[in-house]
């Protein structure tokens, strides 16, 4: 077909009628699926003989085997190694936590603010001060410091692992190809599925929490770093090597500095991803704000809101502080004279002294124990509670608007779509999707799609998987509709960027349950809250990647377009967006992955299906069920990716 198209461009024969074009054929396939649906609705279910039922049982047995071999007086060296690692991580977090507690909040605040002031500047330091003050004001100082320690450890380890691997992936196609599916799996497979094995290997506590966070926070660091390195114009790299730079020199002096904005985005995303794991980390002894959120949801929702706010504030403060420090210490903009260096050294000394003084004062005035009770927490709780009471009251006018809308969406939108997927004969679904993949993406993706759908059937998760698929599709489409235009707009307008940034930070780090549960009071139906959670969690990543990609487009190309008299819109549509294609495609891919990553949250707010199975797997010790449902989510992800990938990825080869 590609040949025909290529020939078409040269010879321009009569255009094929639309029904023979790709769109026409795709529509025909969908029509065929619809006919199958109406003709054999609910009659052809995945045959029981084609499932591997013992698999869940084998997985359960494996878990028991792990547990039996670990909980003996002298476990083998394998378990001891994991144990040592866990103890090491426990100690790092524990050491940081006890440092913060020993310094009291006066000393810790002084330390944080002055470090940021010394390396990042006044504005960022003020932000840090505000953040620390708000933790104390909310009465969440202790929990916040535990989470802070956990976050510092997780983020630094994630970056220490992610940035080098990202650089490697950016410079080697083979490595990139090998690592991409692993990263997909790390992001899609819900943490709920592997919490038990993690607990068996690393026990509970901060160490296990760090490991869980790493699994989720390392992939974005790798992906975005790699994208940044790949985004450096080829001719610049060639120029460097032509001037005799070694590969290492090229990396250090050309690629890394030019990929700066992407690297900062990688750091930002790592911080946000790490903080979005706080609640899950709490389930295995991570302590801190995650615990407050979980128990708050069950018995004091206002407190859960406050703890959620503390997580968000920590994320934003940490992000802005690291960014300010990175900008300040950027060697490209830094010219230190002898005198300046001397002054800076004196300043550092003064800062250290100030921290000591603050800690001393804190101890003298009992800031650790006495002042901790003087917080604004009761007042804040009352305010939040009164807002919640309003939301939860079914006699307000808001409810009279939101309730019918919710019912309408379920009755005429998501409900029918769900039954279309669930009740469709499985052969129609399997081959329909495979044909679509063939049409849109090619033979190999079609085969992969077929295999993935078979895997779903084999794991005996066909019906819930189709249910989830219908919801994920809606959420992904909405995410793209929201994310791509907003991303482009943010790239074009500084003002939009400014407004959007904190909102995106909130959406990425505020634990979903904290805002979705009040939402359920307004729209008490299933499915909708889960879809909303997916869209709200996934769009920020899409927006950020698209924005960074469009802004990254080399100014020369833009100037050239301007010189040819292109309008701003033309430049955008004809130059910037096509040149930012790689980043936009990563955005699309990440958006879909993020939607899948919150399928479990959906299960906790009424989407049922695979998410529910995974949640049940952890909490009712149905390990096998949890793993299989997660495998089904992953298979769905891969299949979706292959169907929609299109004929891209050819370009990867000529990038480096």
């Amino acid at each position: 077909m590609a040949v025909v198209e290529a020939a078409g461009r040269i010879a321009t024969p009569a255009r094929r009628p639309w029904w023979r074009s790709r769109t026409g054929l795709a529509l025909a396939i969908v029509a065929g699926m619809a006919i199958a649906f109406f003709g054999w609705r609910n009659q052809v279910v995945w045959p029981g003989s084609l499932t591997w039922n013992a698999l869940a049982h084998h997985l359960d047995k494996f878990q028991i085997w792990l547990s039996d071999h670990r909980n003996v007086p002298h476990p083998s060296v394998f378990f001891r190694a994991f144990n040592e690692l866990a103890t090491f991580l426990d100690n790092i977090v524990g050491w940081l936590t006890s440092l913060f507690f020993k310094l009291t909040w006066a000393g810790t605040t002084a330390l944080g603010v002055l470090v940021v002031l010394r390396f990042g500047g006044r504005r960022a330091a003020l932000g840090t001060l505000g953040a620390f003050a708000s933790f104390a004001l909310m009465g969440l100082w202790e929990s916040s410091m535990r989470t802070f320690a956990l976050t510092i450890a997780s983020v630094s380890l994630s970056l220490a692992i992610g940035l080098p691997l990202g650089v490697l992936a950016g410079r080697s196609d083979r490595f990139q190809r090998a690592i991409t599916p692993v990263l997909d799996a790390m992001q899609i497979v819900p943490a709920f599925a592997y919490l038990m094995p993690i607990v068996l290997l690393f026990s509970v506590g901060p160490g296990a929490a760090v490991v869980t966070t790493l699994i989720y926070a390392v992939p974005p660091a790798i992906r975005i770093t790699s994208l940044g390195i790949r985004g450096v114009p080829t001719n610049t790299v060639e120029a460097a090597s032509a001037l005799g730079a070694t590969r290492r020199q090229t990396l250090a002096k050309v690629q890394l500095p030019l990929a700066r904005r992407m690297l900062l985005l990688a750091v930002n995303q790592t911080i946000l991803f790490a903080l979005s794991m706080v609640v899950i980390a709490g389930l295995i002894g991570g302590q801190g704000l995650g615990d407050v959120v979980t128990s708050g949801l069950y018995s004091n929702p206002a407190l859960a809101m406050l703890a959620g706010a503390a997580i968000v504030i920590m994320a934003i403060a940490l992000d802005r502080a690291t960014e300010a420090m990175a900008n300040r210490t950027d060697p490209a903009h830094r010219h230190l004279t002898e005198g300046k260096q001397k002054r800076l050294r004196l300043f550092t000394l003064a800062c250290a002294a100030a921290v000591g003084l603050a800690a001393g004062l804190g101890h003298a005035l009992d800031a650790g124990s006495v002042w901790a009770r003087w917080t604004g927490q009761p007042w804040l709780l009352r305010q939040v509670q009164s807002a919640l009471d309003y939301v939860q009251n079914p006699s307000t006018f808001i409810f009279h608007i939101t309730n019918p809308i919710g019912n309408f969406i379920v009755e005429y939108g998501l409900g029918p779509l769900r039954s279309f997927f669930v009740e469709m004969p499985w052969p129609a679904m399997t081959f329909g999707l495979a044909l679509l993949a063939f049409l849109l993406s090619g033979l190999r993706p079609a085969i992969v799609t077929l295999v993935m759908l078979t895997v779903i059937g084999l794991t005996n998760e066909w019906t819930p998987a189709m249910d989830t698929l219908s919801q994920v599709l809606v959420a992904t489409v909405l995410t793209m509709l929201v994310g791509i235009p907003l991303g482009v707009w943010a790239a074009e307008s500084r003002w939009t960027r400014r407004v959007l940034r904190p909102i995106l930070d909130v959406l990425q780090t505020l634990p979903q349950l904290v805002y979705i549960i009040p939402f359920i009071y307004l729209m008490p139906v299933s499915i909708v809250p889960g879809v909303i959670a997916g869209v709200l969690y996934a769009s920020p990543v899409v927006i950020r990647l698209v924005e960074a990609g469009v802004r990254e487009v080399s100014p020369h190309s833009v100037e050239a377009a301007g010189a040819f008299g292109a309008t701003r819109l033309q430049t955008l549509v004809k130059v910037k967006i096509p040149l930012a294609r790689e980043a936009i495609m990563l955005g699309v891919n990440q958006g879909m992955i993020m939607v899948l990553a919150v399928v479990v949250i959906g299960g906790l707010v009424g989407s049922g299906a695979l998410g529910y199975d995974v949640a049940q797997g952890l909490q009712q010790s149905l390990f096998g069920q949890g793993v299989l449902a997660s495998v089904a989510i992953l298979a769905l992800g891969i299949a979706l990716d292959r169907v929609t990938q299109g004929r891209r990825r050819k370009r990867v080869g000529d990038l480096v």
Partner: protein, 316 residues
């Protein structure tokens, strides 16, 4: 000279031994106890009452962890958590950790009786007295119609982490109900609370003791009586008829880590003897979750008012 040095050494050793002995004695007196608190309010009530008893009477230092229900067994096996005070029947974990590995030991019942069942608001029960039993529900199933359940009645399922067999029960009893999975408990509460406030019909999975039962009047629907060999874990599969019986009433159990149980700490006795009634637990849980009182203060208030019970736990 030598003798004097020797004498000094002996004296030093004696002092050191006395110091060490002193600190060892202090350790044996209680030391640090780590209790695990679970997400529901009843568990918070148990944990904080025991915490305050241990702190006040035995001068223990009490830490509270909040590990989830299943991983906490591994935490106990590792000695990172000393005790849990309320477990709702994690049978596979008992087989694994208590019976086989012997890394976790039983610490008796906590006195609270757990009830699981199908509930409707009491106002509805008054309008439709036939709802008292499942046969009445069979006739009235369409009363619970909603946009989500189409022509059938809607049944709001429970938290994924709770024991349940409702889908199988609905099938086995031939009820015209659609099981709707509404997710975790806070989400489920949101769903039925909204209908309750509008005085509309709603049918859902619920349990007692639960602090919300003090705020909302709820009535249980009688399901078929339990018979010999009736099953409760629907994940086992098989003939649905075998599940056609009410949920059992649960004796809620306490567990300790082996390490803690054999440590000789006086706290072990308190954990073993701790036992109170549903009403006691609901009182404290209501103070914490309903009135948003500080858990420590709520516990202290209850302890001050129930000296006799507390003394019994202390073995006085």
């Amino acid at each position: 000279m030598k003798a004097r040095v020797g004498g000094l050494l002996v004296a030093a050793l004696v002092v050191a031994a006395a110091l060490a002995g002193g600190s060892a004695a202090a350790k044996a007196s209680c030391g640090t106890v780590t209790l695990n608190e679970q997400a529901w309010a009843g568990s918070t009530a148990n944990t904080y009452v025991v915490k305050n008893v241990l702190e006040q009477s035995l001068k223990c230092k009490v830490n509270i962890t909040k590990v989830a229900e299943v991983p906490v067994y591994q935490a106990m096996a590792d000695g990172k958590t000393d005790a849990i005070l309320e477990d709702w029947g994690h049978v596979p974990q008992w087989a694994q950790y208590v019976t086989k590995q012997k890394t976790v030991v039983r610490a008796g019942a906590n006195g609270v009786k757990g009830v699981i069942g199908w509930y409707v608001p009491t106002y509805l029960m008054k309008q439709h007295p036939e709802l008292k039993t499942w046969t009445g529900l069979k006739k009235d199933a369409t009363l619970f119609k909603s946009p989500e359940s189409g022509s059938q009645g809607m049944f709001l399922g429970g938290d994924p982490s709770y024991q349940q067999k409702d889908q199988t029960l609905i099938k086995a009893l031939g009820l015209n109900l659609k099981f709707v999975s509404v997710g975790a408990e806070p989400a489920q509460v949101a769903r039925w609370e909204q209908l309750y406030k509008q005085k509309k019909p709603v049918l859902f999975y619920w349990y007692d003791p639960q602090y919300l039962n003090a705020t909302y009047q709820l009535s249980q629907i009688q399901l078929p009586k339990r018979f010999k060999g009736c099953l409760d874990d629907e994940k086992q599969g098989g003939n649905p008829k075998k599940y056609a019986c009410a949920y059992p009433s649960y004796t809620l159990l306490k567990f300790m880590s082996k390490k803690f149980a054999t440590s000789g700490s006086p706290a072990v006795g308190v954990v073993k003897r701790f036992s109170w009634s549903n009403a006691d637990q609901n009182t404290v849980a209501k103070m914490i979750a309903g009135d948003h009182m500080d858990p420590d203060k709520a516990a202290q208030k209850w302890i001050a008012a129930n000296k006799a019970k507390v003394n019994k736990w202390l073995g006085k």
